[in-house]
């Protein structure tokens, strides 16, 4: 397990301030934050590329704050792959074991094993420059995994990939994690990624960790305006989705009500609707929107020109709706008032 205590590092443009974190063995830990939050330098300081200005880092109880990267046994994968362009795929994957002076036959065996796991066997004799982003990232992961690291650090590994490739690789990361049981710290700016992969997550801003918890906890109870704003999704539910072949839409049961979505995905899904995509009215309105529910105003948060109101429609979590101050006044809304909320099937995002 990794224990980080009061870690600080100042690199001028990027910095870390008093970071304290505990990450359990075998955990898939996500670090989420906007650009410039210090996520990459947190990983690089854990890896030992930068020496901490103050604070300690422990790995399995051993203080590793002052030992060089090569003695830490921590693997690193960057967003831009950083494969060595002058080596073949095979030589890239073998690089670390060669540095460790492992016997040739053993290297060969391990490279084959990892190439199999990552599905890159057919690429072993190619050079990285000729490969697609997805292929390069698999090789970068294999190159780190072959060292059997105690911890794998992934710095936005999916951000440079197209959506389909990213989704496939995301699934594989999940598999690799369950197969190898390696502790993974994965940095991202995508909430969806954090939600799908992470057992726990930390939100970072301006070099500090502002909240730690399971994705659900952080999402349900953001502890600051920054976290709420950054996650920004507003409405998130879990449910069972069924695709209606005739009408070409998905219908999701989220514990009491049925939400209709234009995203076709079946099975257990997450449902998200942005607060500004929901319409609120005092009378039921007839429109082309497929989702309409009756509820009561259960909360009002004044955030300047935009207000957020919570509407209880009889399920566990209320809907959050964003409306302008002017509409709020015109509709004469107040706590406990009965209202209708309406939103289109295309505003319902499934993942």
């Amino acid at each position: 397990m990794i224990r980080i205590e009061h870690l600080s590092k100042d690199l001028g443009e990027f910095f870390l301030r008093d970071i304290t974190l505990d990450i359990e063995d075998g955990e898939y830990f996500m670090v989420l934050g906007p650009t410039g939050a210090g996520k990459t330098i947190l990983l690089e300081t854990i890896a030992g590329i930068y020496r901490a200005d103050s604070g300690r880092i422990f790995l399995d109880g051993q203080d590793i704050t002052d030992i060089p990267p090569r003695e830490r046994n921590i693997g690193m994968v960057y967003q831009d792959y950083t494969l060595f362009p002058f080596l073949t795929v095979e030589e890239n994957i073998a690089f670390g074991l060669k540095m460790r002076k492992v016997a040739r036959s053993e290297i060969k065996r391990r490279v084959d094993e990892l190439a199999n796991l990552m599905g890159v066997v057919h690429l072993l004799h190619r050079y990285p420059g000729t490969l697609s982003g997805g292929e390069q990232q698999r090789i970068a992961i294999a190159r780190a995994l072959i060292m059997e690291p105690k911890v794998m650090l992934l710095d936005e590994p999916l951000s440079a990939l197209d959506p389909q490739t990213a989704e496939r690789l995301r699934q594989e990361l999940k598999n690799i994690h369950s197969i190898t049981d390696t502790t993974i710290i994965h940095v991202t700016h995508s909430f969806e990624e954090a939600f799908l992969l992470g057992s726990r997550m930390a939100i970072m801003n301006k070099g500090e960790i502002v909240q730690v918890g399971t994705p659900n906890e952080v999402f349900r109870k953001p502890n600051s305006e920054f976290v709420a704003e950054f996650l920004g999704v507003g409405n998130l539910f879990q449910g069972e989705s069924r695709i209606d072949a005739d009408s070409g839409i998905a219908s999701i049961d989220v514990g009491g009500i049925n939400i209709v979505s234009a995203t076709l995905k079946s099975g257990s899904v997450h449902v998200s609707i942005r607060p500004e995509d929901i319409l609120v009215s005092t009378k039921q309105i007839v429109s082309s929107a497929r989702n309409s529910f009756k509820g009561k105003i259960a909360g009002i948060v004044d955030a300047g020109t935009i207000l957020k109101i919570a509407v209880d429609v009889g399920i566990d979590t209320p809907f959050v709706v964003a409306i302008t101050k002017r509409s709020f006044d015109e509709l004469n809304l107040k706590m406990g008032r009965e209202v209708y909320i309406t939103f289109k099937a295309s505003a319902v995002h499934l993942f």
């Binding site: 890896a47 990267p69 693997g75 690193m76 960057y78 950083t82 060595f84 540095m99």
Partner: protein, 267 residues
Amino acid sequence: MMLKKLKHSKIKAITVLSSLFLAIFISVPIICVVTHTTLSALMTSLASEEIQFAIRLSLETAAISTIMCIAISMPAAYALARYDFFGKSVINTILDAPLALPPLVAGVGLLILFGTTSFGKALADAGLVFVFTPYGIVIAQFFVNVPFMLRILRGTFQSINPRYEHVAETLGCTRAQAFWHVTLPMSKNGFLAGSVITWSKGIGEFGAALMLAGATRMKTETLPISVFLNMSCGELDLAIAAATILIIISLMSLFAFERYGGFAQVF
């Protein structure tokens, strides 16, 4: 519309003609040198002891000064590319100075340093005599050409993302091993380009070498010095033989530089 087109083509004609004129102006003198003597006279001169000596001395001094340029520039360029330190911009400016300095002036400076100061005398007492010796040629070439090597290598190192070294360190390398196994192979083209330009400029170095090492026949007689000496005393065939070799070497290095070093920023 017609007028516009005419105007446009006029501009085109003038600019194209200028470039053509330039190309002719540059190639004609070169052709003049090469065609001034007969082939047999050229061959005889090339076989002469004096030209053979000049060729060997030029190749050797240029090779040694190039190796010295690499040895010093590699760590210096790495520091200037990777680290921030006090006085970095001043050092960068000073290291570029020889590019702007007339080589003759550089030679005078070197002559005073090695010929008159106690530092120079101490070196001479230790057996390192630079004044009027082939060692002087090497030092003169090094002084004048090291900025080229430094600039090319600095640009090369800057273009390599330090993350490659970071990854190598997590894969079991020390800092030095990461440089050796990753950065160095990735800088191959920069080293090639730097070596070609430094070496070929070393072969052609005249002014600084003349001041420091002098022009002594069969002692400090490199190819350019040989051209100078033989022109001065009317040995036209020998001068042209040396000049022809210089032309061949520069064309070859130009080709190699275009091929391997097109990316490198020299100025």
